[in-house]
Structures are given as C-alpha cells and as structure tokens.
Symmetry: C2
Amino acid sequence: MSPDSVSGVTQPPPRRPRKRSATRSVTLSDVAASAGVSAQTVSRVVRDPRSVPDGTRARVEAAIAATGYVPNLAASNLASNRSRTVAALVPQISSSVFADTVHSFSTALAAHGYQIFVGTTDYRPEHEEDVLRSFLGRRPDGLLMVGTSHTSGTLALLAAAGVPVVETWGWSDDPVDLLVGFSNAAAAAAMVAHLVGRGRRRITFAGRHTSGDPRAAERLDGYTTAVRDLLGGAPRTVDAGPEPVAMDTGVTLLDLALERYPDSDAVMFSSDVFAAGALQACVRRGTDVPGTLALAGFGDFELARHLVPALTTVAVPSARIGELAAELLLTRMRGAPVERPHRDVGYEVVARESS
Amino acid sequence: MSPDSVSGVTQPPPRRPRKRSATRSVTLSDVAASAGVSAQTVSRVVRDPRSVPDGTRARVEAAIAATGYVPNLAASNLASNRSRTVAALVPQISSSVFADTVHSFSTALAAHGYQIFVGTTDYRPEHEEDVLRSFLGRRPDGLLMVGTSHTSGTLALLAAAGVPVVETWGWSDDPVDLLVGFSNAAAAAAMVAHLVGRGRRRITFAGRHTSGDPRAAERLDGYTTAVRDLLGGAPRTVDAGPEPVAMDTGVTLLDLALERYPDSDAVMFSSDVFAAGALQACVRRGTDVPGTLALAGFGDFELARHLVPALTTVAVPSARIGELAAELLLTRMRGAPVERPHRDVGYEVVARESS
DNA sequence: AGCGTGAATGTTAGCGCTACCGATAGCGCT
DNA sequence: AGCGCTATCGGTAGCGCTAACATTCACGCT
C-alpha cells in the first residue's frame, strides 16, 4: 500500500480531459471567435437580428456565412425549453382529405417560425398513442390532432404534457382544448336528406367504420339517424373492415353493398376514394349512374368533379381548417386568451351528376 | 456608502441559484429517485433494456410508468451527438408518386428506431436549400432526397454536414453519395417507343418541365431524343409553367396541346395526375380515346388502372425505392461499407386502354 | 487469504445553446 | 459634476441527457 492510502487522505488523481466524440460541426463559439464577439451576441443575431445594431449584426452575419454555421436546434431547444416545433397527427397523409389541412396549417405556422412534423396513425387509434408518445419526446410547442375521440392513454399523455392542442375534423361537447371542425354525423345526415330529396329510398352506407376510423363511424351514426327519421326503414350498411382507404376497396364495398342489398338505389361512401373506385367500376360495367344507382362520396377531392359522371359529395373546408387551427394555436402558444376556442367550419353537400 | 465598497475589496455577492423557467415535465433523475437507482441506469433501461438485469429493469420500468416519464430527445441528441432521425426532402407528398416511397422508407427505418421527418419543396429547387438548412439544424443521421440535380448551395450544405445521403427517383453519373433510382429519360423514351409501336406518329409531350421539376425535364429530354431517333420529326411540347400538379392543370395542358398541335395523335404527360384530368375531359367531350387520341401518364397511380378507359403509364417501383433507400442508408449510418451504392430499380411501360 | 475477472451500477464532465444577470459606455438632464 | 437612464455586450450557470470512466461486489481460481 502506498503511504497515501494509509494516510486516509487520497489525492484526487490528475484528471485528464474527458474524450468526447466531438462534433465536427461549427458551433456558436466558433462563429463568435471569428466575429470577435461573444457567443451570446451571435445567439442574439440568430434568434432576433433586430436586437443587435447594424454594424455588429453585419460582422456576425459575415462570420456565419464564412464558417457555414448551422445552429444546433437540439441545443437551442434544451436551453430555451421551446422547440419552435408543432406536431400534427393525422390518420393518413397521401391521397387524403387531410393533405390540404396539413398543408395550410404548416404554411401558416411556418410564417411564424414554426416547423411542423407530421405523424400518421394509419387509421389505427391504438397507434395514435405510440406516435404521440414519440412526438412528445421532441417537446412540441403545440399539437394538431385529427378527430375528437381518443384513447384514455392518449388523453393522459396530453394532460401530462400540458401542450396546447387543436382537435380538428370532428365535433365534441368536451374537447381537450381547442377545436376546429364540424359534425360528421350532421354532414352524413345532410347527404341522406339530399338523396331522399332526389327520390332515393333504399340508401346503403358503405365505409370503414368498424376498424378505427371514428369519423366514418360518426358519419354512420348520422346516416342511421337520418334514415330512421326520414325513411323509417332499417339502416343498410356494409363495412370494409381493415382494408386500406383505396379505390380497390371502393369496388369491394360496392360489390358487398349490391350483394347484401341488391335493391339499393343509392350507395353513400365514407370517402371520395371509395366512391371514385365504385363509380369507375359502374362505368366499366355499364351500370347507369345515377339512373339505376346513385353514388355519393365524402370529402370533395379534386378527383370528384373531374370524374364522368361527376361525383356528388360533401365538401369540407379542409384548407380553412388548417388555417384556423394554426391561428388559434398561435394565439394559445403566445399565451394569449383564445376567443371562441371552438369553431364550427361547417360542410356543404355538393350535388353533381352521380345522384 | 457601506464600509465594504470603501475598502476596495468587494465581496463576491452571495450567489442565489439562478432562476430558470423549470420544465414542468418529469426528468430522468425524477425517475431515478423514484426507482432508487442512478440516472445512468434509467438511461440504460430507456435506450437498451437488455443491458440491465431483469429485476432492476422491472423496477425502473415501473417508475417510468408511475411518473409518466417521456424522454427529452433534444437532450439525448445533444449528449449523444446522434438524433436517431432521418430527414426526407420531396417535392410534394400528397397525391404524388413519392407518397409510396416515403411511406415504405419511413416504415423500414422506424423498425430500426429512426424517426423520419418529411419536408416538401413544392417543386421549387431554390426552396430545397432553405428546407435543407432548417432540417440540418436538427442534425439528422441521414438524408433522403428526391432527384439528382441540386443547386450549388445545396451541395455545399450537404458536403459541410457530412451526413449520409440517398438520392432517389433519378439517375446520375456523379451522385452525392448513395443513389436508388432509374433514368427518367430512358423511361420517357420507352413510352415514346410504345406509342410509336401502336402506330402513333404525332406525339406531343405535356408537362411542367420549365418550372422546377427536373424529373419532368429529364423525361422531356428522353422524349425529344426518342422522337428524333424513331420518327425523325421535330419535338412537340407544351408546358404548364408554374401551375400546380393537379388534374385541372392536366385539362389546361390538353387544351394547349390540341391548340398548338391540332393534329396530335397522342399526348404523353409528365404525370398521371395531368393525364387523368385530360382523360376525363376527353370522356366528357366525347373525344375517342384511344381512337382519335392516345393518352399516357407517368407514375402508375392507383387511379390509372381504375379510370375508364384505363390509363397507359410508366410504372416505377415507388415503394421499392423507399425500401432500398432505407436499406442502403442504414448500412451507411452503421458505418459499414455499402455494396453497390448506386442501384437502378428500372421502370415498366404499362400498356392499357388509353393508347 | 489473495487475486483476477466480469457484471452491475455509480460518478463526472460535458454536448451547444440560451436565460439571467451584471458591467460598461453614452446620453440628456439638473 | 453628478445623476439616472438606456443601449450594448459579456459572463455564468444550467437545460436533460449520455460517453467515458470508476467503483463495487460476487465469484472462482490459485
């Protein structure tokens, strides 16, 4: 034993500096050194250029350009406890009604310096919770969600996170926070009323309502109520189960509907994608639309008005939802009180040739 | 004046701890305290559960559940210098051929613990640089880009970032790094050959090639070459300029084509979206397709085979591109050597009723 | 008993940035 | 001159996490 350890007073070993896999990239202080100012000043130039006088700002900006500095947002987020980031959770992004919402939402927020990251749940609510959890790891300053019905786990996460939330594309008497949407049930009921007005009496609803699309289920509810009130008959419904939201599935749904309810004089679908598939199948088979069978969709995709015959559908102000959602969320993130935090944007039955 | 300041030896003021707007959220050490272990052990459980024995792991996991802990990824990124994040830059996501690529790419990478964030350039290459810059702020571990032609600013950013990159949906003799794609020119030439084989002699190309869609421009090149080689005539082209990639624009393009080249016996479009709009317009107007006019698209969207008449188009293995891109990128991110870093996935002319 | 070994866990020092505060200089006023 | 004010800039201490190392302990061996 060495005398040292016997003495009971061990000298701390001479510390060599820790090895860290250093980032090869340029940091704030590199820029600061190059510009001859402090890191703090560079930070100010990056975040709020007007807070620094012209001369200094020019020198710092030159140094940034010369060094090729790209700020590390992870460090910024950590230090400032703000991520300047907003997360959007949608069921599906491609070929979907939500594309316009996300696009306008993201454009509106980008103008205020926010980046949006989008997650898709593939129409599986149980998936929503996982996606949400991994998104919350990035500590978004705000959150957009499609739909108003969530699992209890999702609600717990939202509550714990304490982040401003906008729900969209639905309606609820008890929203989590902000709400920009409309009643899917009322929209579907309006479509039933339209079809009844056109003389249809045996209307079948075809959708994907049992497998995790709560909005389709709400539309089914509206359909059921309307059929009972207006026609007095039993509802006629067919369900696609877990099939994807695609035109192929629309054909399948059409076949199911005609097999189970051969006397149907109208089929309304829970999405334009389904209706478009069914409509083209009818054209190919020579089924007279709307003579023999009326068809209707939901969403008013661009496709709907181009098809021949043009597709009757329910138009929803998809882009407007995104804009409004961004507006309300910005107000809330600013900490200001939000006027009328629940906005009904409505819907409109667009009667075209297929009904 | 106090004696202190007169004495010239000012005591350092007693430092009260800095006030920081404390995060209200649960941190690693909260969990550690609750589980009776160190923060490091909790970190290990979160990142690599197998590195901790069952008993400890169970206790820590219980503590995580009890506290509702959600890891702060910004802190993790900063400390580990890895973001477990991959960025994808695409021209457009909704109603586009890239949707399948992004989807399969993201699925393949998610299986390895990576999150994908997607940015869209709206078909504006000058926008690409801005989007890239803001993405690099998040220090992605890898990058997917659509296309092989980039601005010099983009190339400089990529070089400085030193991040693995996969380019897709194109072909180049001098790629930035990895490449999974095919020759747009060859694909367009093959379509010309198909149309010529069907007896067409006055083929017009309609696209959006002057306004920032390099892939459309490449297709135009292939078309021009093929027309010269096979037909000997002058190329006939019409351009949509900055119009959006939408069915409406397809109708506009059709009208332009028929106005400028009234004797056209075939029109090939740079996208299925354009072709679908044009095709439905023909159906509505009673133009015989393919009798009077053959139409062809590009991309083989689901829509193409459902339309009546079904649309002739070029099928590209969009999902396969995403998968392969993920595979190569994973290998590179692992630091392993990549076999055959440039993969040609090919294309296929799908002859249907419209030609 | 003493030692080497390896598994399990703890300790320490940052990662790059910003909040917070303090220091200084310049200005207009009494 | 002295005062108070504002504009400008710098110093310091973390934000929550993990890499790198250190320590502890049980175990099998000589």
